[in-house]
């Protein structure tokens, strides 16, 4: 399917999901579904660098929070509408990704992962000490009372995040099938051999870190409006970093479907657990699922299905 057509289908799906929500008269549902859509964006963004390129980013929370705090900053200075803040937050996070790529170029494997974690901590410290955006106290964001075309702001936020999810998944799928994506796969498999096959590894890695950052910034930008009150502990929450890794891992990292499945599954489960048991069970579930999948199905749910299909194909043939 052509990338644009796929985007059309993705957007259509998003609209359908949104429309289905209209039958349920429950504000809470929008908020819960928003979180799931947000994780689709984050997991998909993470997978461009982690799954396609093979560079594990532990700093997803840093990117997410940078997106969120860009909104806070803009809210306090120029008060743009949200749909304009999102691309700005995305761009700033893309630059952050580019910078991270440049600074950590020489690091591979676990050292790269540690560097990204360190970057998130540095950003966290910066924000804690930046009183204009609320510092450690946090900042209150007053939602606009009304928004055009939508019944309420929660609906608007949910629709926005669904659209972003459609964009993220379409971008990931396009990357996967493009020349860029094949170059990234070559880097993941063997960076030296890739360079010796003519792949401009440095440039491609920077494209991957920027693109991944851009999408994470998208995910973070509406966050202050979603919660109404942002503080560093919330925006830089460990859960974002852990979930961004866990969801692609559980879904499968080799294709765009994996993070989508992982995010929908894990995100929904977490929402259900939060309501039925307690919010603390969230991360426990992530941990248990991670361990299970790493040992039982290292290629995620997508990998499991591939295996099943091959087995069946083998029997038929």
């Amino acid at each position: 399917m052509a990338p644009l057509r796929f985007f059309g289908v993705a957007l259509g799906t998003a609209v359908a999901v949104f429309a289905a929500g209209a039958f349920v008269h429950n504000e809470y549902l929008y908020l819960a579904a928003y979180t799931v859509a947000q994780y689709i964006v984050l997991a998909t963004a993470w997978n461009i660098l982690g799954g396609y390129t093979g560079y594990v980013n532990f700093g997803a929370a840093g990117f997410f929070a940078t997106g969120a705090y860009t909104s806070v900053f803009l809210h306090k200075t120029v008060a743009l509408p949200l749909f304009l803040m999102i691309p700005i937050a995305g761009l700033i996070c893309a630059v952050l990704g580019l910078a991270m790529g440049y600074l950590t170029l020489r690091l591979r494997g676990v050292f790269f992962a540690i560097a990204t974690l360190a970057m998130a901590i540095v950003l966290h410290t910066l924000v804690v000490n930046w009183s204009f955006v609320g510092g450690a106290r946090g900042a209150y964001i007053i939602r606009p009372r009304e928004v055009m075309l939508f019944a309420g702001y929660s609906q608007y936020l949910f629709a926005t995040m669904l659209a972003l999810a459609a964009i993220a998944v379409s971008v990931a799928r396009w990357v996967e099938h493009s020349r860029l994506g094949r170059g990234l796969a070559a880097i993941r498999d063997d960076e030296t051999a890739a360079e010796c096959s003519g792949v401009p590894t440095l440039r491609l890695k920077l494209v991957a870190t920027s693109l991944s950052g851009l999408l994470m910034g998208f995910a973070g930008a509406p966050f202050p409006y979603y919660v109404g009150y942002v503080d560093p502990a919330g925006a830089f929450n460990l859960a974002y970093g852990v979930n961004s890794i866990a969801m692609p891992l559980i879904g499968g990292m080799s294709s765009w479907v994996g993070p989508l499945i992982g995010a929908v599954l894990l995100g929904t489960l977490q929402q259900v657990l939060t309501v039925t048991i307690s919010s603390a069970v969230n991360l426990l579930l992530v941990g248990v699922l991670l361990v299970t999948f790493v040992t039982v199905a290292p290629n995620g749910i997508v990998g499991l299905f591939d295996k099943l299909r091959r087995k069946r194909g083998g029997r038929d043939g």
Binding site: A185, A186, T192, A193, V199, P200, T201
Partner: protein, 247 residues
């Protein structure tokens, strides 16, 4: 006479206090088959790495096709028409044989000497299949490269290098660990490539293969070039014999 396709002069490479290459000159004429010999640790692979850009030389210069390239990154050199294989095969293990080759077609596909530079859009599955057939891997085109046997991995290394449409191919121990029949297979492949106009540098320990293949042999010992000339006279050179057999 035409300029050599590759001319490395005064190459120095040190690692800390250790001098791996000491003022080495090495050149390859257009269309020539050169053997590069030397005991383990003599600097052969370091020289190859300095030529292809995996390492940066500390002094000296590398000129390829009339252009100084020793400050270019590896992929830029590859795109100018240079290709190499690795001593230990390095396949893209998550991809099939054909996909491995397509990477080089997509990203490296450089010109033969006179042809205009191919655009990347020319790279397609047909081209990849042609190369797969040329090296005799067509039955395994859709197999994961991670599951190949040693000899097939060597062929894949060569196929991937060929896909870059090189003018100069550096084969770093492309035949190590292969049986005699397999060595002959790879040799035939390299000779065919050479007949198509590709200059080839062969780094090899298998003496009979080098003697059969090379028109000229250069010998490195402890980071210095101690001989360079036609195979018979190089083998007869007492310094070379001393390096290989001891005094």
């Amino acid at each position: 006479m035409a300029e050599p396709i590759l001319s490395a002069t005064g190459i120095v490479k040190t690692f800390g206090g250790f001098t791996a290459l000491d003022q080495v000159d090495f050149s390859v004429e257009r269309g020539e088959r050169v053997g590069l010999l030397g005991p383990n640790g003599s600097g052969k692979s370091t020289l190859v790495n300095c030529i292809t850009g995996t390492l940066r030389n500390d002094a000296g210069q590398v000129i390829f096709a009339d252009e100084r390239i020793d400050r270019l990154s590896t992929h830029q050199r590859i795109r100018r028409g240079m290709a190499r294989t690795f001593q230990i095969p390095r396949p893209f293990h998550s991809m099939t044989v054909r996909e491995n080759i397509e990477i080089a077609l997509l990203y490296a596909a450089g010109p033969a000497d006179s042809e205009p530079r191919r655009t990347t859009h020319d790279a397609n599955a047909d081209d990849a299949m042609r190369i797969v057939e040329e090296v005799g891997l067509h039955k395994k085109a859709d197999e994961r490269s991670g599951s190949l046997t040693q000899v097939d991995l060597r062929k894949l290394e060569l196929a991937r290098a060929m896909a870059a449409h090189p003018r100069l191919l550096i084969a770093d121990e492309a035949m190590a660990g292969l049986s005699t029949g397999e060595v002959d297979e790879i040799l035939a492949l390299l000779l065919r490539l050479n007949q198509a106009g590709v200059s080839i540098v062969m780094i090899e320990h298998i003496m009979y293969a080098v003697m059969k293949f090379a028109q000229r042999i250069a010998v490195l010992v402890a980071g210095r070039k101690i001989a360079d000339g036609d195979p018979q006279s190089v083998i007869a050179n007492p310094d070379v014999q001393k390096a290989y057999l001891g005094e």
